[in-house]
Symmetry: C2
Subunit: 428 residues, 2 copies
Amino acid sequence: MSTPLRLGIAGLGTVGAGVIKIVQRHARLLEERGGRPVSISAVSARSRGKDRGVRLDDYAWEDDASVLAVRDDIDVFVELIGGEDGPALAATRAAIAAGKDVITANKAMMALHGQDLAEAAEKAGCVIRFEAAVAGGIPVVKALTEGLAGNEVTRVMGVMNGTCNYILTRMESAGLPYAEVFDEARKLGYLEADPTLDVGGIDAGHKLALLASIAFGTKVDFDAIEIEGIERVTIEDIEHAADMGYKVKLLGVAQMTGRGLEQRMSPCLVPDTSPLGQLENAMNMAVLEGDSVGQIVLRGAGAGEGPTASAVMSDVIDLSRGTRVSTFGRPAAGLIQAKPAGASAPAPYYLRMSLLDRPGALAKVATVLGEAGISIDRMRQYRHAASDAPVLIVTHKTARDALARALEGFAATGVVVGEPVALRIEDV
Amino acid sequence: MSTPLRLGIAGLGTVGAGVIKIVQRHARLLEERGGRPVSISAVSARSRGKDRGVRLDDYAWEDDASVLAVRDDIDVFVELIGGEDGPALAATRAAIAAGKDVITANKAMMALHGQDLAEAAEKAGCVIRFEAAVAGGIPVVKALTEGLAGNEVTRVMGVMNGTCNYILTRMESAGLPYAEVFDEARKLGYLEADPTLDVGGIDAGHKLALLASIAFGTKVDFDAIEIEGIERVTIEDIEHAADMGYKVKLLGVAQMTGRGLEQRMSPCLVPDTSPLGQLENAMNMAVLEGDSVGQIVLRGAGAGEGPTASAVMSDVIDLSRGTRVSTFGRPAAGLIQAKPAGASAPAPYYLRMSLLDRPGALAKVATVLGEAGISIDRMRQYRHAASDAPVLIVTHKTARDALARALEGFAATGVVVGEPVALRIEDV
């Protein structure tokens, strides 16, 4: 029998327990597929006594993940603690310094420290794999790093926070306002302890930053992502967008442009007939575009015990098989620091505003648009409710600064009530 | 600079030319990603003089693929000749005997000779990769072999012949009969020289056989696939299915059951709201289900120069990186010979028949169903046109033998005109 691949697992939450269950349940399958047995030497978590629904008796216990990480009897340090720094980062650094390979599900740590960690790993001759950090069970890191390796990647998009997608699709299906569905999601346990990570687009932004690095050979640059969460998406906009044939999605987009690397995570409109438009509930989707392959769409569960543990095990079997790919698909030292693109590329926009019920009000709005150089694709004015009337406009492709000029201009007309809403319509 | 990975490419059709274009265009990218340059030492095709839109001057020429396959200056034999045996098989065998790794896009050869070739390759210490053989640019072989390696796979499904999907969606969108759209497809160059490979479901069957082997650790068993093509799908059934909320797809399904391995490729109904139901034109889709990951859906172009060459290059970069996975994801000698399941698992069925305009006709049909133990989920009788009326029935889950009894029973009623149509409704 060949030498087993020996894991040390730090973090015994849902995902950690899920990984242990797979190792126990599928020992033979994993050995057949990986060419050697997978074993667990030691585990680590905050509280030893807690029942996690898995048998841990056969594994050594460490209170300190950093001690676990350097044990002689592990080949791979599996980091499932979470958190952008703290014990996860310390233990990962310790593992690399001790020459251990690392598998992690930690998007925050990789998005913020991935470059340093990848360089350290390469110097130490070990690898870091993070399939579970992006879009749960969908093998998107592998698809992009390996499956599309012959392509110049042109664009990467994704709906990569299941909670946000749940909230948005539930708002639409039940006709409920954001605050109400947010509370539902919290009660269902769908939200992180700090919900801003989810609804503020930060968690999805971490994932986008990782995909962008692989796609474009650039250093992970989370800070350069333009992030807007879903907190201000209203049921009115979801319903009006639906009327016009669109769905509202928290969509991440990364593309290399003449102006630099564009990375944004924001509520966008997508056609309701597109795969992204048809993605419901907590599902995730990644859309990868390459110069040879065209468009590849991957869909699956983005979170949860089984899917995330499945992704961890994909990395485990890769290491069993001797597959050793650079962290971001190329040597870390060669990744370039991309210039951020600044403003995003021109796109059609959806505009919604309330107009006072006055003669000439609509003409004023149209004049502002014309003066900003924005042409109108479609426009609808709804019947006046009380004193003001909702107006929807879908523009043709519009530069961001033209849009900003128009939004300023609306305020000066004296006929637009409150803040107009502007949502980008992504060409998917 | 590290040693290049040296390719010998046999077959310079669309895909061969596409591969050469990528190697020429993306030399630097391929070197960065693979950790070593990719070079082409020699090429081979039937006719040397033909203009293929790529520069071949730097490469040695061989008239005989089997001579190319064993050249000292190649590391990898790239087989893009096609055909289940003949020169492709001879050259592949020669390459393996000479210890060369093999990359092939040849689904027919792999479906019929994959087991022998894999065993020979493993004995010789080389690997065979065939990402391009299944679903073109979609990295589905990789997703299943590596991405889902921690899962017990429960079911694999796919729409894997773009021509058939084009024909079926075009029939529906244009309201045209099969024969007319078949002619269109032929004029557009969408059909193989022997169109039965496409519309008879054989090409898609080859792909299903390969995925089933990876999924279940079984020897490829193309002959055990129950295959039915799309030749008998009528515009009436497509339209009636649409009325009932379904699309007709040439769907491949492989699943391991208590009765053995079920593999079938046939026109099925799927809900029009499902990802499979929404797949239009020549696109391909693979649906992979595992015990941990749940359901993963992959969508992309299933054929064409760019997508297929992209898949070949994915295998090339894997070999550049030193990734060496067994042909079917486990050692070939350990693959088991699965017992074919015989009849497929019970499923709901769509039934269409024409009834004579006679009192009691519908009662007779309902009686036959009841006596066969088949219960009715939904039924529609349309207004009589001339002397007979179309009747549509969607059954609850029904065993195949019960269905067969009912179909026999209908014939004996004397009120059913012509052959009833029965299409399986797949639970996707």
